[in-house]
């Protein structure tokens, strides 16, 4: 990670004008893939990601079914036009790894024992990537799983924090990812207060590590509110109207 410029200017503003504690713009739409059992579209900064869930459904091939619980399958995939340089459509090693950590981030929140011998498929498709796409993907996938009516202990928000120009910042973008000195994505179950995904690229001392963790956690809580609002909006209409009704 060779830094070629200042990533935080003299006013404390980052390359996209944000302060160190600011989250990028996040928008979530629920139920946008007609054929899927549940789906969500997320705009997270410049990330544009679709998550679609099919399930619970029959397992094919049959021998992959488990007798006492549901099989969870996740696929994180990037469209060829999603990155700066055109990407080959075949799955890369990075996509395979992210598919795995994404599944491990979502699995603790799902009550898989309720659907023995069935499968739940989660497809995360990145149409445009801009740093933090795995966190955006997990956040969208959680909403899609709730939309599909799967029994869940919690909704899982995900957000990254990092170190840029010596400072710990919230939600690093693409440039900060490439040129900054640390990147820590985190996924969290807010009611159970448990971490389900944690990775780190870069170097942090103990103090920076703790600060980074706290900051990513803050980000997760902000994203959770947006996820919740999007679901309430789709199923129950305007939250304001609801309050007036009751």
């Amino acid at each position: 990670m060779i830094q070629t410029r200042n990533l935080i200017d003299e006013h404390g503003l980052r390359t996209d004008g944000r302060t160190t504690d600011e989250l990028r713009n996040v928008k979530i739409q629920v139920g946008i893939v007609k054929n899927a059992d549940g789906s969500a579209y997320i705009e997270f900064g410049k990330n544009r990601i679709i998550a679609a869930v099919y399930g619970p459904r029959e397992v094919h091939p049959k021998h992959m079914a488990q007798p006492d619980r549901c099989v969870l399958r996740c696929r994180y995939h990037m469209s060829p036009f999603s990155t700066d340089t055109r990407k080959n459509p075949a799955p890369s090693r990075r996509e395979v790894e992210i598919s795995k950590v994404m599944r491990e981030a979502l699995e603790p929140a799902l009550i898989l024992e309720d659907y023995p011998r069935a499968a739940i498929d989660v497809f995360v498709e990145v149409l445009q990537a801009d740093g933090g796409s795995r966190c955006a993907g997990i956040s969208a996938a959680s909403v899609a799983l709730a939309d599909a009516g799967i029994n869940m202990r919690d909704i899982v928000p995900a957000c990254a924090a990092g170190k840029v120009d010596g400072k710990i910042v919230l939600d690093i973008n693409d440039i900060e990812d490439k040129e900054g000195s640390a990147d820590m994505p985190l996924a969290y179950m807010p009611h159970l207060e448990r971490v389900t995904l944690l990775q780190l690229d870069g170097i942090l001392n103990q103090e920076e590590f703790n600060e980074c963790l706290d900051k990513a956690l803050q980000g997760c809580k902000m994203i959770y509110e947006i996820q919740r609002k999007a679901l309430i909006q789709k199923y129950f209409g305007d939250e304001q109207e609801l309050k007036e009704e009751s």
Binding site: F81, T83, P89
Partner: protein, 276 residues
């Protein structure tokens, strides 16, 4: 090796009955006439990082196409032309019957038919896209991601590719010292000569109907995709599925494709503001 297999969608007997009854009265289950296309929506520029992009909705079928322009070696035998590379992927989000994995014969056929329509009509003037002939040319990648399947992916993908190309802002490369090329940072409109439009029809019983839904495709015995250019000339054709057409049915379908093609072309121009 290609082998027969039973269609994965089994249409309810009652629905088939309803469909046949409706077609005998020249209507379809969604109320359309036999030669009526579903509503077409086009949204441009949704992938800001790509050089051109478009999202098309044809009824409930939804496709996103993205254009990425780079430089590279020309194809063998085509040393003085830019390279155009088109691919398509039916994402596993599109339908409960899609399994993730390498493209199957249906997806490959889809990509090649859409490619043929664009290439044979010479929509992009590749002669204008050579930089150092024989060594460095513009390489235009057009990739389609199919997000939701409700029939007629041929036309939906074709319209997505065409509108994405029409709205592409081509990065301008310059040759320096005859040896290397550099991105000037400027942008220009791509050299386009025509707007190819594909129209797909399927045969159900003895009737030929346009723009099939997924259910209609599951009941069809044959399919034909016909691409015309802005002058109403035929540029590409593909017959698909295991049934057959009479010569008259094909001539009739070709005529409808030309006429309907012009209607759709007008719509595409309108929705893309002619590419701007």
């Amino acid at each position: 090796m290609s082998s027969s297999r039973r269609s994965t969608i089994i249409v309810e007997h009652l629905r088939r009955q309803q469909m046949t009854e409706a077609i005998s009265k020249s209507k379809r289950l969604d109320g359309r006439a036999l030669d009526e296309m579903r509503p077409l929506e086009i949204e441009l520029g949704i992938i800001g990082k790509a050089d051109g992009s478009s999202r098309v909705r044809l009824g409930s079928s939804e496709v996103v196409a993205g254009v990425k322009v780079e430089t590279g070696e020309p194809f063998e035998g085509l040393e003085n032309k830019g390279a155009l590379i088109l691919s398509a992927e039916v994402l596993p989000t599109a339908s409960p019957y899609i399994e993730p994995g390498p493209p199957d014969e249906e997806t490959i056929e889809l990509a090649r038919v859409v490619d043929r329509g664009v290439r044979e009509s010479e929509m992009v003037d590749l002669d204008k896209l050579a930089l150092i002939p024989g060594k460095v040319v513009y390489t235009i990648f057009v990739d389609c991601s199919i997000i939701n399947y409700d029939g007629n992916l041929f036309d939906a993908s074709s319209y997505a590719v065409v509108s994405a190309l029409m709205s592409t802002k081509l990065p301008v490369f310059e040759v320096q010292a005859g040896e290397s090329v550099v991105n000037t940072g400027k942008r220009t409109d791509p050299p386009l000569t025509t707007i190819p439009v594909s129209i797909t029809a399927v045969k159900i019983g003895d009737s030929v109907i346009l723009d099939p839904t997924a259910e209609e495709e599951a009941c069809m015995d044959a399919r034909i995709t016909i691409t015309t250019n802005s002058e109403g000339k035929f540029a590409a054709l593909q017959k698909g599925s295991t049934g057959s057409f009479t010569i008259d049915q094909i001539k009739r379908a070709a005529e409808i494709a030309r006429i309907k093609g012009e209607e759709v072309r007008t719509k595409i121009k309108e929705l893309t503001n002619n590419g701007h």
